[in-house]
C-alpha cells in the first residue's frame, strides 16, 4: 500500500501569494484496489496525485511505499518499504518509471511524433530491446483499439483516441500502480463507462489504481473500492464506495 503521513504541499512559501494546495493529508492507498479522490477543482486532488506519483516533493510530511514496485531497489529494507520523500532524484525517476503509470488530465503526449513512438517513449531509457518494446506497444494499442493509428501523428487523433493512447503509454512499463487525473474529462458517457470497465480489468490483473475525478460516473462506479473526499487541500471524508 501507499502510506501518506501529514503530507503538505505549499507553493511560493513565504511570499505574499503563498498557496497551500495540500494540507496535512494522511491516508492509506490499498494495494490492488481502486481508490478515487473526489472533490471540486482546486481541492488539491491533482497535487496529491503528483506527490504520490513521485513528480514533486511535499513541503512536509512523508510518503512511504509498502511492497509496491520492483524489489530491486537499493533503498528497500527487508520489509519492502521505500520512503520516496527522502529518496534522491535519481532513484525517484527509477520508481516513477517502473512502478507508476500516469495518465494526465491533458494527456501530455509528445506532439509531432507517432502514436507508437509516444507509447514506447517511457521504455526508451530502460535499454530494453527495441523489438520487444515495440511488440508490447502494438499489443497495447490493439487492446485499446487504436492500433490502426500506430504510425499516425498524435496531433491528428480525436480526444477519445488520444486518451486511449495515453493509457497505453501509462502501461508500457507494466507498472503496479496506475494514476489517472480526471480521465473522463474529455469523454462522453459511453466512453467514460468503457474507461471504468478497463479500470476493472486492471484491478483484476492485480494493479493498484488511483483516480482523481469529480465525475459521478467514476466515483459512483461499482469498480471503485474507496472514495476519499477532498476540499481545499484537506481530506473531508473517506470511506468505502457505495
Amino acid at each position: 500500500m501507499i502510506e501518506l503521513l501529514n503530507v503538505t504541499k505549499s507553493y511560493n512559501a513565504g511570499k505574499a501569494n503563498q498557496f497551500t494546495a495540500v494540507e496535512d493529508v494522511s491516508l492509506d492507498i490499498k494495494q490492488g484496489k481502486v481508490t478515487v479522490l473526489q472533490g471540486p477543482s482546486g481541492s488539491g486532488k491533482t497535487t496529491l496525485l503528483t506527490l504520490i506519483g513521485c513528480m514533486a516533493r511535499p513541503t512536509s510530511g512523508r510518503i512511504i511505499l509498502h511492497n509496491i514496485g520492483p524489489a530491486s531497489f537499493g533503498e528497500a529494507g527487508e520489509s519492502g518499504m521505500v520512503e520516496i520523500t527522502s529518496l534522491p532524484e535519481r532513484f525517484l525517476t527509477g520508481i516513477r518509471r517502473t512502478t507508476f503509470g500516469f495518465i494526465f488530465q491533458h494527456f501530455n503526449l509528445v506532439r509531432g511524433i507517432t502514436v507508437l513512438e509516444n507509447v514506447m517513449l517511457p521504455a526508451y531509457p530502460t535499454g530494453e530491446r527495441h523489438g520487444d518494446v515495440r511488440i508490447r506497444a502494438l499489443n497495447l494499442l490493439e487492446m485499446f483499439n487504436t492500433s490502426r493509428h500506430a504510425n499516425s501523428r498524435v496531433d491528428l487523433l480525436s480526444g477519445g483516441e488520444i486518451q486511449r493512447v495515453a493509457i497505453a503509454r501509462a502501461l508500457i512499463n507494466n507498472p503496479s500502480v496506475i494514476i489517472a487525473d480526471e480521465p473522463t474529462a474529455h469523454l462522453d458517457t459511453k466512453l467514460s463507462s468503457e474507461f471504468m470497465a478497463m479500470v476493472g480489468t486492471f484491478k483484476d490483473q492485480g494493479k493498484t489504481i488511483l483516480i482523481a475525478s469529480h465525475d459521478p460516473i467514476v466515483y459512483d462506479s461499482a469498480v471503485a473500492d474507496m472514495v476519499i473526499e477532498m476540499r481545499d487541500g484537506r481530506v473531508t471524508r473517506s470511506g468505502k464506495a457505495l
Binding site: 513512438e117 517513449l121 530494453e128
Partner: protein, 378 residues
C-alpha cells in the same frame, strides 16, 4: 542484451524524431553548417596541397640568388660580380640569370621571359609554357610576336610547349636563348638580372651570404630557406581575404550556437517535463539534447569534409579560382596532389562539433533538473 547501447540507440531514435519534427528548419541548418565546413575544409586541403607541392619542387631552387639594389630598387647586376663571388670559399658555382617580364598588351597578360644556356631553344625560337599556349591559342610551329624595346617587332617560332603538368611553375614562361633575350630587351652585355649561386655545404649559406654583402654592399642575397619560407606561409591566416572567410565562419558558428544557447522555448521546457514525468532521468534528457546537437554538427562535419576533398582534388578547387585569379589574365590550371593537415582538420572538427553540441545541452540543464510537475506547469 546490451542495455547501455540499446538505451543510447533509443535516445538517438527519439532525437532524430525530434529533429524531423521541424524538418525545414533543421535541414537548412544542416546545409548552412555543411557549407561552412566545406569552405574551411577546402581551404585547409588546398593550402596544404599547395604548400607541399611548393616544398617538394622548390627544393631544387637555387641555393642563393644575389640581387643588386640601386636606390632601393632592383637593378641588373654586373656579371663581373660573379667571378668574385665564385672565388669565395664554399661557393661551387655562380651562374648569371637572365629573366624578365613581358606585358602582352593584346590580351593584358604578363609573361615571364627566361633565357637559358641549359638546352636552349634554337635561335629565334621559343619554348612556351602551356598557359601561354592556352591563352594565345598557340601550337607548335606557330609564330609569336613580341614588341622589342626599340619599338620593333620580333618574331619567334614556337619550338615546343611545356607539359601541362608543369603549369604550376611555368604556365606563363617564354624560354629563349641568351642572345635573343638581350636583343629583345636591349639588355646590356656585362649585366644579368641576378646571380644564382650554388654552395657546397648548405649550412654555410648564411656565412657566405654575409661575406657577399660585405664585399658588395649594394647586393641582396636571398637564401633558399627564405624562398621556401615564403611558400610555407603562403595563404597565411593573417592574409586579408582569409581573415574575412574565417571571421564569417566563426560568426556563423556563434550564431548557430546562440540560437541554441538563448534558452528553451516554453514548449521545449514542457516537453522535458513530460519526458521526466514518464520516467526519463535528467541524464537521459541531457543525452537526448546532446544527440540533437551532435547529429547536426557531426553530419555537417562529415559531409563538408568529404565534399571539400572532392572539390579540391577532383575539381581542382574550381570555386576558389575566381578569388585566386584576381586581376590576372593568365591563371595556371593545375591538379593538386592530395595532402591534408590532420591538426587543422582536428581543430575544425572540434570547432564544428563541440560548441554547437555544448550549447544544445546547457540551456536544457536547468529544465532537466527541476521537478517534472513544475516543468509542466510553467
Amino acid at each position: 542484451m546490451n542495455r547501455p547501447l540499446e538505451r543510447h540507440r533509443n535516445i538517438v531514435d527519439f532525437a532524430l524524431s525530434s529533429l524531423l519534427r521541424r524538418k525545414g528548419k533543421n535541414i537548412s541548418l544542416l546545409l548552412v553548417y555543411t557549407l561552412i565546413v566545406f569552405i574551411i575544409a577546402s581551404i585547409i586541403f588546398f593550402v596544404q596541397a599547395l604548400k607541399r607541392e611548393a616544398g617538394l619542387v622548390l627544393k631544387e631552387a637555387p641555393d642563393m640568388v644575389v640581387q643588386r639594389l640601386v636606390a632601393g630598387r632592383h637593378d641588373p647586376i654586373p656579371v663581373a660580380f660573379a667571378e668574385k663571388i665564385a672565388a669565395i670559399r664554399g661557393v661551387s658555382s655562380v651562374t648569371p640569370r637572365l629573366w624578365g617580364y613581358y606585358y602582352d598588351a593584346a590580351i593584358g597578360a604578363n609573361y615571364t621571359i627566361m633565357a637559358t644556356d641549359n638546352n636552349p631553344p634554337e635561335p629565334e625560337s621559343i619554348i612556351i609554357g602551356s598557359g601561354v599556349a592556352r591563352v594565345r591559342r598557340l601550337a607548335k610551329g606557330d609564330m609569336m610576336t613580341f614588341r622589342a624595346y626599340d619599338g620593333g617587332i620580333n618574331l619567334f617560332e614556337v619550338q615546343d610547349i611545356l607539359p601541362y603538368a608543369s603549369e604550376l611553375m611555368a604556365a606563363d614562361m617564354v624560354i629563349m636563348d641568351r642572345s635573343d633575350f638581350r636583343t629583345l630587351f636591349n639588355f646590356p652585355d656585362g649585366v644579368a638580372t641576378d646571380l644564382s649561386v650554388t654552395v657546397r655545404n648548405p649550412r654555410e649559406l648564411t656565412t657566405i651570404a654575409a661575406k657577399i654583402v660585405r664585399q658588395f654592399p649594394d647586393t641582396r642575397p636571398i637564401l633558399k630557406s627564405e624562398i621556401l619560407r615564403t611558400y610555407n606561409s603562403i595563404f597565411d591566416w593573417r592574409g586579408g581575404m582569409l581573415v574575412v572567410v574565417l571571421g564569417v565562419a566563426v560568426l556563423a558558428f556563434i550564431i548557430f550556437a546562440w540560437d541554441k544557447a538563448t534558452g528553451l522555448s516554453a514548449e521545449e521546457r514542457k516537453e522535458i517535463g513530460i519526458l521526466k514525468s514518464i520516467g526519463w532521468e535528467t541524464s537521459d534528457v541531457l543525452l537526448l539534447k546532446f544527440w540533437e546537437g551532435a547529429v547536426i554538427s557531426l553530419s555537417a562535419f562529415l559531409f563538408g569534409v568529404i565534399l571539400a576533398y572532392g572539390h579540391v582534388f577532383f575539381f581542382s578547387a574550381s570555386l576558389f579560382e575566381q578569388a585566386l585569379k584576381g586581376w590576372a589574365v593568365l591563371y595556371p590550371r593545375f591538379k593538386l596532389t592530395p595532402a591534408a593537415d590532420p591538426y587543422q582538420l582536428a581543430v575544425l572538427f572540434f570547432l564544428t562539433v563541440i560548441p554547437y553540441t555544448v550549447t544544445t545541452i546547457i540551456p536544457s540543464w536547468r529544465a532537466a533538473t527541476i521537478d517534472p510537475d513544475a516543468a509542466m506547469r510553467s
